[in-house]
């Protein structure tokens, strides 16, 4: 239902919105861009693995786009985004080969460790990265066209929207494929995967590289929109933010990335306007409410409402739609 009805409606509203009103496009461009790394986190969560280091790929994409735009006279956003994706995929492969050997807290912590090393490199290599001041990124051309700021932001809004929709659909289809189902199976029984003749590590590595790709693309879009890439992009708080948004939106469905990203940005912007520096307090309270009353996130709430109204079959979601026993075969074996 979400893919067939909600996505077209959201896309339609998103297409019309900048034409009908003003003041939303900058906010929403960031929502679209930041939903991408969250989508990557949701992908890994299907295998029961959480990364507290995906900001490193976000920063990889951002800095790569920055370097490319600065290196090419006039810059070209298409080349910059392609380079950002390429760099993120390579980084995802290099880090992934190592971290997919580990699970749960070790997986999370190794990701965190790698990202903090990367953060330090960005901070210390001042001559290359600009240090803590960051890398300023001139406005690139779009398909050879140099644009004024308002025109550029208008086009970037639609570019980010289109890329997000493609990625949402792509990840949705991937999760429905045999490989996607095998990824979900990692959460409950890796032993059986081995005895089906498959490598759980390899399956997780593929998902990890895709998640790095998504984070890198998101980072590049944010960087070219804001015109700057800073080491803060790789900082652990940013990684935590992606996980926060994934939980907020709901990890059982790709739409959790979109819903979470929208609500997070909205609360952040609104709370900053009213309570200034204590906006994190508001976010914390919202997360508490979500964890206590809607552990399957905003998308889970949507499903619950739909189920309550009896207007359709509840969509199976790993965390919210179904209510599995929560026990793996290994745990059952231990109990026996």
């Amino acid at each position: 239902m979400l893919m067939r009805i909600v996505l077209p409606v959201v896309v339609l509203v998103a297409i019309v919105l900048p034409l009908a009103t003003s003041g939303w496009d900058a906010f929403l461009t960031l929502v679209w861009a930041k939903a991408l790394p969250v989508l990557g986190i949701i992908l890994l969560l299907q295998a029961g693995q959480v990364s507290f280091g995906h900001a490193m790929f976000f920063a990889t994409g951002a800095y790569t786009a920055g370097f490319v735009i600065r290196a090419i006279p006039g810059g070209e956003i298409v080349i910059a985004l392609a380079a950002a994706i390429g760099a993120s995929v390579v980084a995802g492969l290099l880090v992934g080969v190592f971290v997919v050997r580990y699970r749960y807290i070790f997986f999370a912590m190794f990701n965190l460790a790698f990202s903090m090393v990367f953060y330090s490199l960005l901070e210390k290599f001042i001559h290359i990265t600009g240090g803590s001041d960051g890398l300023s990124i001139p406005r690139p051309e779009i398909l050879g066209q140099a644009m004024e700021r308002s025109e550029y932001e208008f086009v970037l809004y639609y570019l980010a929207l289109a890329l997000l929709v493609i990625c949402l659909y792509g990840v949705h289809r991937f999760l429905d494929s045999p490989l996607g189902h095998t990824l979900k199976a990692i959460k409950t029984n890796e032993t059986r995967i081995e005895y089906l003749g498959l490598s759980p590590r390899r399956v997780l590595l593929i998902a990890y590289i895709i998640s790095a790709f998504l984070a890198g693309l998101g980072g590049a879009l944010v960087a070219v929109f804001q015109g700057i890439a800073t080491p803060e992009y790789a900082y652990w708080v940013r990684s935590g933010e992606f996980v926060f948004v994934a939980i907020l939106g709901g990890t059982g469905n790709v739409f959790g990335a979109l819903a979470g990203s929208f609500v997070y940005e909205y609360i952040r912007v609104t709370a900053t306007a009213y309570v200034g520096d204590t906006w994190q307090l508001t976010l914390g309270l919202v997360l508490l409410v979500i964890i206590l009353f809607a552990p399957s996130g905003l998308v889970g709430v949507l499903n619950d409402i739909r189920g309550y109204l009896g207007k359709g079959r509840r969509e199976p979601t790993p965390s919210g739609g179904k209510q599995p026993s929560g026990k793996t075969e290994k745990q059952r074996g231990e109990e026996q």
Binding site: G170, F174, S177, T188, G197, P318, K327, E329
Partner: protein, 246 residues
């Protein structure tokens, strides 16, 4: 007759416990070989060695004449040796059919990223195997909700979906109500015959052994004490005294 699996002079021990010492055992095509013996004798260890989970300290194991020692469980699975477990190993958050289709897709190496699992060409075959083992009525249920008997059968069905040449089963009816045991084994052996799969099963129930095995190996204290047809082996006074305990 050439052996499908041939183990020669296997030795392995865990601490002071000898699980195998100079064990040689062949599994021939179309065999339904039962391995019996007291608890802790080393029966499951044999399955673990044949599937690459354990490596013996001495000896050799070949499958169709090719050494499989040092190969990983997944490499051995791909060669044609599948395994069903004493505690069923299922994907508990997925439905029975999804479990089967993951296995079928793995066998067919069907990993195109955008083909829905439910639409893979192997679906009919997977559903047929579920029907063969009598689990077609639970195909839409999450694996976590199945009763133990069905879980065992689905575990075996997953192994069959891999189209193995040999299926190794560890106590296929343990934990199953006595009233269901023979039905399950009837179904299972029927499915194995239809799929022309050779089987090796570890079993404690002598009635099951005499009814379903065509060969029996008695594993005791790390040695093969006796092997042959069920009629001969189960009436061997030494086997009766040390293993069957009557």
């Amino acid at each position: 007759m050439t052996a499908l699996i041939s183990a020669k002079d296997l030795a392995i021990s865990f601490g002071g416990v000898i699980a195998a010492e100079g064990v040689s055992l062949d599994v021939f095509e179309d065999d339904h070989l039962a391995i019996i013996g007291p608890n802790g004798a080393g029966k499951t260890t044999f399955l673990n060695i044949c599937t690459g989970y354990l490596k013996p300290s001495a000896g050799s194991v070949t499958f169709q004449g090719r050494s499989i020692l040092g190969s990983s469980p997944r490499a051995i699975t791909r060669m044609g040796i599948a395994r069903a477990f004493q505690i069923p190993q299922l994907f508990t958050e997925q439905t029975v059919l999804e479990n089967m289709l993951i296995a079928a897709a793995s066998q067919a190496r069907r990993f195109a990223p955008f083909t829905p699992l439910m639409q893979i060409p192997e679906r009919k075959e997977a559903e047929h195997i579920l029907e063969l083992v009598g689990c077609d009525d639970v195909s839409d249920r999450p694996a976590s909700e199945l009763p133990e008997g069905k879980r065992k059968l689905v575990d075996i069905a997953l192994a069959l979906a891999l189209k193995p040449k040999v299926l190794l089963m560890d106590e296929p009816t343990s934990g199953v109500a006595s009233s269901e045991k023979f039905d399950i084994m009837d179904t299972l052996i029927g499915a194995l015959r239809e799929q022309q799969v050779t089987s090796v099963f570890v079993e404690h129930d002598m009635e099951m052994v005499s009814r379903y095995a065509n060969r029996v190996a008695v594993w005791n204290a790390g040695h093969i004490q006796s092997q042959g047809t069920p009629e001969d082996v189960l009436q061997d006074p030494e086997v009766v005294r040390t293993v069957i305990g009557v």
